[in-house]
């Protein structure tokens, strides 16, 4: 393995002439799994960490969130704080441009005067308008119903923000530093609640739900709406619930009771 850099114009690696043949295979290079031996080219055997892709986004699942507005109190924003800490978005003193993945909305019923308080975040629609309008396909819905932005191909046109009925999306207006390694965020792209996809993929629950449980409100229930045995599915069956802007027929994955 001699790599000359004599002319100084190109990196040694570029002179490598044994083209690996298995490049297209996703299971080709996996660190963390068992050590395996694979053949790159006839006569050239290298070890690679092998294994199959583990798609955690399962099409049989539909992740959802149930908000019991009766249990949600106006002065509590534990879910908001938890989300902000988990995902690293924060108040920078520019309220109009700061991102808010989840917010507490206080409501007063115009007819009766009854006050309600509830969190609003991406509603993870089954038919998400943001996904329909996105020109590059950066807005997408995972097989398990989580609506995400693929920030790698988001061009920052903000059409999805125009299309979202819930004002759930934010645009990153400034350069950022100090992001969380599991929640990359960056200038010029659109972002929103990911239902803490990085946690969900490793079998945990979203940060907001965890925080709400931790202070004992238990107003947020997370689970697989398609699994009849899940807490969320049972409650949805037992109690009336509604979706925000039901008239639009988007069938959101976030539902509210006692609104």
């Amino acid at each position: 393995m001699s790599c000359s850099l004599k002319n100084g114009s190109e990196l040694p690696a570029l002179k490598f002439n044994k083209k690996p043949t298995e490049m297209g295979r996703r299971e080709f290079m996996r660190s963390g799994a068992a050590l395996a031996t694979i053949t790159l080219a006839p006569g050239v055997t290298l070890m690679a960490f092998g294994g199959k892709a583990e798609a955690n986004a399962n099409p049989a699942t539909r992740w959802g969130l149930l908000v019991d507005t009766n249990k949600c109190t106006p002065d509590c924003d534990a879910c908001v704080t938890a989300c902000s800490t988990e995902n690293g978005w924060k108040d920078t003193g520019h309220p109009e441009t700061d991102a808010q993945w989840i917010r507490k909305v206080d409501l007063v019923d115009l007819a009766t005067g009854r006050e309600t308080s509830l969190p609003v975040m991406c509603q993870h629609c089954e038919n998400p308008p943001c996904v329909d309008v996105c020109p590059t396909g950066a807005s997408f819905k995972r097989a398990d119903g989580i609506v995400l932005v693929d920030k790698h191909i988001c061009i920052g046109c903000r059409y999805c923000m125009m299309a979202c009925p819930y004002k759930a999306r934010s645009f990153v207006h400034e350069p950022l530093t100090g992001q969380k390694s599991y929640a990359p965020r960056g200038i010029g792209t659109v972002e929103s609640c990911t239902l803490c996809v990085h946690r969900v993929d490793s079998g945990r629950i979203p940060a907001c739900v965890e925080a709400c449980d931790a202070i004992g409100h238990r107003a947020l229930i997370f689970g697989d709406m398609n699994d009849p045995e899940s807490d969320i599915a049972k409650r949805l069956l037992a109690y009336p619930s509604l979706a925000l802007r039901d008239d639009l027929g988007l069938n959101p994955g976030v539902r509210y009771t006692s609104l």
Binding site: M1, L11, R26, A48, A55, A143, S181, P184, V197, S202
Partner: protein
């Protein structure tokens, strides 16, 4: 094991005498943890393709166990300063910038991605194999 690593680092460094490396090529900071079984050369050529391909697995399919994970690159490849604090991996002369500066390639990854490892990710740094035969075979292969 440690010996092997040292040899590996020496042999694979940048493949030319260290004396020359100061003047001729980028000095790539040392990494922690296991080296790549595919070899440094392979990584030099293919890391961009691997990263660009594997990121879709995570983002689109939710596969959290990808080979070319940027989080993992950062975990193994950040250097620490005198006080043991991690230096951002994209800082001047650091791992993800030395070569790119050298070939004037630009990457935007670190506008979003964390440049220092999360505290919890030390798992990456623990060598995962003690299969010294395999490594020896590998070494022989790559040092030909």
């Amino acid at each position: 094991m440690k010996a092997f690593l040292t040899v590996l680092i020496l042999l694979m460094g940048l493949g030319f005498p260290p004396a020359l490396s100061q003047t001729l090529g980028p000095v790539v900071p040392k990494a922690t943890g296991n080296p790549h079984p595919e070899g440094n050369l392979f990584m030099r050529i293919n890391h961009s393709k691997l990263l660009l391909q594997d990121r879709n697995l995570t983002v689109r399919l939710g596969d959290r166990n990808i080979g070319a994970s940027l989080k993992a690159c950062v975990a193994c490849h950040t250097s620490t300063d005198k006080n043991g604090q991690p230096i951002p991996i994209n800082a001047d002369k650091q791992f993800c910038s030395v070569c790119h500066e050298y070939v004037s390639a630009k990457i935007d990854c670190f506008q979003c991605h964390a440049t220092v490892p999360e505290k919890k990710t030390e798992a990456f740094l623990i060598p995962k194999t003690s299969d010294s035969n395999a490594l020896a075979a590998y070494l022989k292969e790559t040092s030909e």
